[in-house]
Each structure stands twice: as structure tokens, then as C-alpha cells.
Amino acid sequence: MADVPATRASLLVRLRDRQDEAAWSEFVRLYAPVVYRFARGRGLQDADAADLTQEVLRSVSASVGAFDPRLGLFRSWLFTLAHRRLYDFVQRRQHQDGGGTVVATQVLDAMPAKNDQADWDKEYERQLFQFAAELIRPTFTETTWQAFHLTAVDGQSGQEAAQELGISVAAVYLAKSRVMVRLKAEIARLQME
């Protein structure tokens, strides 16, 4: 996916500061679901995927200083890290189980066949939109947000949404467009290079 947004450098710079709690919180809230869902998509169960997610994020905290943006995108660097951790995690489980559970074997067998990078990029983009929406939603009234969601996400017409919400069609279009402007700006803020 060539048009998947890149991770903003400023966040990466801030992550090198171990005291920057806000940067780490934002990083975790943005990336943990991506890692977790990637792991679930590779066959890990809920608790195992969460364990792996914590392992990956801790690895990032230890090695983010080594990431060089000149060598590629942070998202791709994290993908490689998550992929390797997933492989190690499953192999470790297989070893602990004395030869391997059926699930572990299935995960290892499935790994080379999956289109991992494309799945990762898709999950990242989805999380980027959802995280940005989560951040901006409290700044709008519930009616404004619903006008946006009903029309832009659920596919209702302006007239249908207006009727459901008891507002004018013009108000629906204005609400929808104003939320979109903010959503775009928030996504840009999260991904700024």
C-alpha cells in the first residue's frame, strides 16, 4: 500500500526521551492494537496476542533509539520487529509444549504464506483512522458526530440522517464536512514526518 501514511518523526524523536509519558501513551494506543490484531490474524489466541504485544512494545522501548529513519519507514521497522518476535514467541511456545501444539504448528506453517506486509499496512491504516476519530470525537456534540457517522460511515443520505436526527439537511452536510476536516487534520498530526 504505497499511500499508507508514514509515522511522524516528531513522535519517534520524543520516544527516545524515556520521561515523555505522553509520547509513549500515544504510541501505545496507536500501535498496540496493530500488533495485537496482526498476531490474532496469524492465529494467536487473545492472551497470547496480548503477551506478544507487550513483548514487542517493550522491545521498541529498548531499541527505538537504534531506528534510523533514513533506512526506511518506522512502520516497516516495527513490522519486521513484530514479525520476528511472533516467530520467536511461537517457537518458544512450541518448545515449552514439548514438540509443539497444533495451534503453534499451524501458526508457523501459515506465516510464510500470508501477505504479511499488506495485512500490517491495512491494519495500521484502520487503527490510524480509528484512533484519530477517538481523539476528536469528544470535541463535537453527539448530534454533529452522529450526522457525520450516519452519512460518511453508514452510507445514509443527508435527508435520511436529517430525519433521524431531527436537524436540517444543510446542518447534516455541514456537520459531516466539519468532522471530516478535523479528522484529516488529526490523521496528519499523527503521521506528520
Binding site: D46, S61, A66, H83, Q130, A152, G158, V169, A170
Partner: protein, 112 residues
């Protein structure tokens, strides 16, 4: 009323339109599909609207209990504690990962 110019619609979007123009423009916008579309276009291009529908329309799979708990735990952990844990945990591979790049081959984990 004739269709307002894109600049005037932009002012409406920015909430900077003159007060005496607002009512007239909104009355026009109520029933003019061209201006409704123009307003959407000013807010975002077609690709962005499509991606928004796609990415916000998909609900996360059910059963993400452990993710929610892990997020809560990580959010509650001060960075210093997190880093201490990271530094003391076993490292199956070298932590200097700067040489890694995504693999171009489907059956490889990465390249260096």
C-alpha cells in the same frame, strides 16, 4: 439564490461566513446537491471519504479482552518502569534492529 462560490462555502465550513449570509446559504444548501457535493469536496477528496467509510466502518473483532487489559496496564505503567522491564527481560535476538528491513520475499522474515 445562485450557487455560492467555493470560497463562500469554505467560509461556511470554517464558520467565518458573514452572519447575514449564513441563513441564505444554508437555505440554499438544504436543497442544492451541487453545493452539498462541493462542501464535501472542500472537506476532503473522494479517496479520503472512501477510506473513512472503510476504516471507520470495520468494527474490531470481538474477544479483544486481553488487549484492553494490556493497554490499560501499559498506560498505567510509567515509562521508566516500562523501560526497566524492557532492559531486564530476556532478549531472544539482538536489540539493535536498525539493520533490519522488511523482506521482499514472502518466505523470509527480513533482510539486512
Amino acid at each position: 439564490m445562485q450557487c455560492p462560490t467555493p470560497q463562500i462555502l469554505q467560509h461556511l465550513l470554517d464558520d467565518t461566513v458573514l452572519a447575514d449570509q449564513r441563513a441564505e446559504i444554508e437555505t440554499h444548501l438544504e436543497s442544492c446537491p451541487i453545493c452539498q457535493q462541493q462542501l464535501e469536496k472542500l472537506a476532503a477528496g473522494g479517496v479520503t471519504w472512501d477510506k473513512t467509510a472503510q476504516n471507520l466502518g470495520e468494527k474490531p473483532a470481538s474477544g479483544e479482552t486481553a488487549l484492553t487489559e494490556a493497554l490499560s496496564k501499559l498506560n498505567d505503567t510509567p515509562t521508566s518502569a516500562l523501560l526497566t522491564q524492557a532492559e531486564s527481560m530476556p532478549r531472544p535476538i539482538d536489540v539493535d534492529l536498525s539493520f533490519l528491513q522488511p523482506s521482499e520475499k514472502p518466505n523470509s522474515l527480513g533482510k539486512c
